[in-house]
Subunit: 402 residues, 3 copies
Amino acid sequence: ISRRCLSFFLSLFNYQTEKYVVTKNSKIGILYRLYQLAVLVYIIGWVFVLNKGYQETEEAIQSSVFTKLKGVALTNSSETGLHIWGEEDYVIPPNGEQVFFVVTNYIETPNQRLGFCPESNKVPDGRCLKDSDCEKGESVIAGHGIKTGVCIKKNGTCEIRAWCPVENSLKPQKPLLAAAENFTVYIKNYIRFPKFDFSKSNVPETNEATYLKNCTYDSKRDPYCPIFRLGQLVKWAGNDFRKMATSGGTVGILIEWECDLDKDSSYCKPQYSFTSLSANKEHSVASGYNFRYAKYFKDPSGQTFRTLYKVYGIRFDIIVNGQAGQFGIIPTIIALGSGLALLGAGAFVCDMILLYMTNAGSFYRERKFEIINQKDLQKEKDSKRTRPGISKYNHCNMLHWN
Amino acid sequence: ISRRCLSFFLSLFNYQTEKYVVTKNSKIGILYRLYQLAVLVYIIGWVFVLNKGYQETEEAIQSSVFTKLKGVALTNSSETGLHIWGEEDYVIPPNGEQVFFVVTNYIETPNQRLGFCPESNKVPDGRCLKDSDCEKGESVIAGHGIKTGVCIKKNGTCEIRAWCPVENSLKPQKPLLAAAENFTVYIKNYIRFPKFDFSKSNVPETNEATYLKNCTYDSKRDPYCPIFRLGQLVKWAGNDFRKMATSGGTVGILIEWECDLDKDSSYCKPQYSFTSLSANKEHSVASGYNFRYAKYFKDPSGQTFRTLYKVYGIRFDIIVNGQAGQFGIIPTIIALGSGLALLGAGAFVCDMILLYMTNAGSFYRERKFEIINQKDLQKEKDSKRTRPGISKYNHCNMLHWN
Amino acid sequence: ISRRCLSFFLSLFNYQTEKYVVTKNSKIGILYRLYQLAVLVYIIGWVFVLNKGYQETEEAIQSSVFTKLKGVALTNSSETGLHIWGEEDYVIPPNGEQVFFVVTNYIETPNQRLGFCPESNKVPDGRCLKDSDCEKGESVIAGHGIKTGVCIKKNGTCEIRAWCPVENSLKPQKPLLAAAENFTVYIKNYIRFPKFDFSKSNVPETNEATYLKNCTYDSKRDPYCPIFRLGQLVKWAGNDFRKMATSGGTVGILIEWECDLDKDSSYCKPQYSFTSLSANKEHSVASGYNFRYAKYFKDPSGQTFRTLYKVYGIRFDIIVNGQAGQFGIIPTIIALGSGLALLGAGAFVCDMILLYMTNAGSFYRERKFEIINQKDLQKEKDSKRTRPGISKYNHCNMLHWN
């Protein structure tokens, strides 16, 4: 290896440091120091302490929810007499899902059979004056059946082929299952953060089953008990239970997991909150919550008949979301690096001020910018060959890196 | 405090600025300016204007969906006679969930009773030539019951203990509920972005219920009406309704929320799109969508019998996703800082070119790199004690910071 | 345009480069080079190669899941005799949802009618010694009905108005549907990454349906077959099937999609894993999984009676999550820029060491910091007007930018 290249390689390990011009201009000096301070405060205080900018976060939470209701209600409606409602009846679907509906009010239309009968006069499209208003074979919009082409004058509605008699009675003005207020729901939520392979359940790790048997959730006294009273859920969501129970509604049960995995996993606990998901506009179609289902029977002759239920009730949506954070090198360096880069910007601004907004600007410029005048450059070029020492790097130029 | 330290502290407020060597080499000058320009354009144009890089975004959307179908159909199949289908029958499950199935075609097998009968010859594992082909007590793979060990020659299938007669009729070649094309579905979607505590519903804030009563979604004319015709949904998803209705399929209804929370919340509106989620391979098991359910009855003698339904239909998956963005300091500074940092990289490259790829390189190097020669350094060291003025910082060294 | 401004604009294209002081102090030189190396390794090795820091990622995955079970079981319980269970019976709900429950054990209470009977003595709140223990009209907590105010001495429980007789038999000690171990489930999962508009299905793109007809998932031999044996699912989740089948439990089927969209889409394949979502604490209420449902019948006289089922079984939660990454300019530049910014930090530290922790520190400082002494500055100011050449920029000051 040539002597020159050797000396070049050695030169790689010379330490180079920028040359600075120090001005006694303390106004700008202070300005710059303040700026440095601000950046420092931002990085340490805001990014790292407040926003945990050193953590990589995971928002894609995996969640599995199981719900179980308890309680029994006795209803006594004029048409249909006494009825006992247990979980198996008032929870729809009954299999403990994340979104479940609790019947609080209903209209029962027993013993419907396929046949011909007048459409309910509550259905606009069903009303008629003459037969021609009821086009044969056409189904009644938002109605119960298919028009037969006959207009039944005394009702003022079309005759239809449908399950007869059609549902016609009115919604009870007070909830038949008012007792639902005291039903309890047990919510089991199991979550997992795949990125960190961290999983946890909302059921406290308590061994005595008695705790779960007796506790009820209360944001103050017992914020980790996973058993809730429906009445309170509705109240906490800002609704009046009786009102909602009458025409139905939707309540959201939010379970939030804010997990700082740099701390002990026992600090990672669920936060429950409750919100009403149904529009509060009384006049809108959107308000209320109801749907229909039917139970089918066969009489001894094998004919099918059914009981139609229009159920009003409260739907509970359990919405789980969460975020886990854990120290990560990359976010740390990104936060740090981008902060430092700002220092440069500050220096640039201060330079501008110093060089172009102070009287002595031009003087400072002279000192800061050392202008190579072309004569020297020329002279240099001519004399090069005679002074090889200078160009000692030349053979290694392409290799050299600063 | 010592005079020296004092003067040191004052020195903290001197402003220091890098010293530059200015070369008249305008090629590189222009190159560098262009680079600066490029970076500037990137930061302002690309990051901030196009990609809203100044926003912190939230992708974990909380969503609650409620669906309600309307429409009634009359079916008239040879075996089972007339039947009226209402929401309570053709929507499964009936309770207005986010994922719902609409029956469009079905095979009914009425009056099944527990007993012994030949397996359907459509089941490969059920076929047999001699009794030994039907191992007693073994269940028929993908079949309907448990083999009794007898082979019923005339059918060429094993005798099984099952609900008899086994389902055997063929899928109707055209959908029995073709009328489903005109059913309408009302979709109510309530979303929330927990990070920004922003929530909204897809139902326009209109007071006259009449609007919702009469409108139908249309991407052009009425893109915010939450009521859809099933036939159109299937068409928009790129399928032929009659084909899909016959053997079943899955349609995805995507609701996308792109919310710029720096703007007014009224700009945050849902975007509906429709896609087919079922494989288009006719020959694969994956194609089509069907399942079975049974209605159970008891005859006067208390014996159980049932009607088995194999239903084909269209499953609608409502998939909600969205993203909300709002101005945030950290992302802004990260975008800014990392951009600025690049300027440094550019300067470095230009230096390389200037110093090692121009003839005058070595000359520029001389000027850029002021080499301290060791003799001076030595002399300096010797003479130190005699010139205390220089080392006036020494007592505060550890404190000093640049 | 004035001659001065012109010359100023030209000056914009002079290339300016920092002036460096080169010290032969190779200790710090090496230190700095090592630091540069470290940063380089971090950026290239860690950020780009290992963590694909150049990709923008999408975690909000859209997913649609369809499940279909196959298999048939014969149960033979003393009370209720023989029964054949098909998919339509043991899968709840039957319509192929993402979360489904498979009945593996059950208690049947046939022929319940509304009436009066003693509460089960398994319910604590139902026990009594005298009538006053049974407050009339109050419902039994976690019980089956409404107290009538009578205490039935011989049972030691309150008389209640309920569906009689109340469920009382014990849970079978071994699963009645042990055959469920051999049931198979076909899972179809369709995913989409909205940001990249990329979608895929977990069903291999194979044309011969025979493949799907015959394959079974096996992490080793056949990791992409979407058909699973329930028994194995439970085993892989780390549970004993018979135990879980007896009292019920929950199994999570995780489908993970890790898609590098810079590669060909065929590399984007699902990863199945299985975990138990039910608490392993035997004594806790949380353990096990069961719920009730009822089938309603009417006798010839029109009276309603029902069969109540308390079903134990295994709930399967299919949890889909995934992440897609694709090259993006912004993340690349952020990763790059913030890395480069760190180089500055290193230089700063090395400076500190050089200037304040070496004997020659003060000497280096002298060379690095060129202190402008105020006399010159003063002289300069006085003489300014006499040397217009210097202040040639003055007319364009505000325009000038470095």
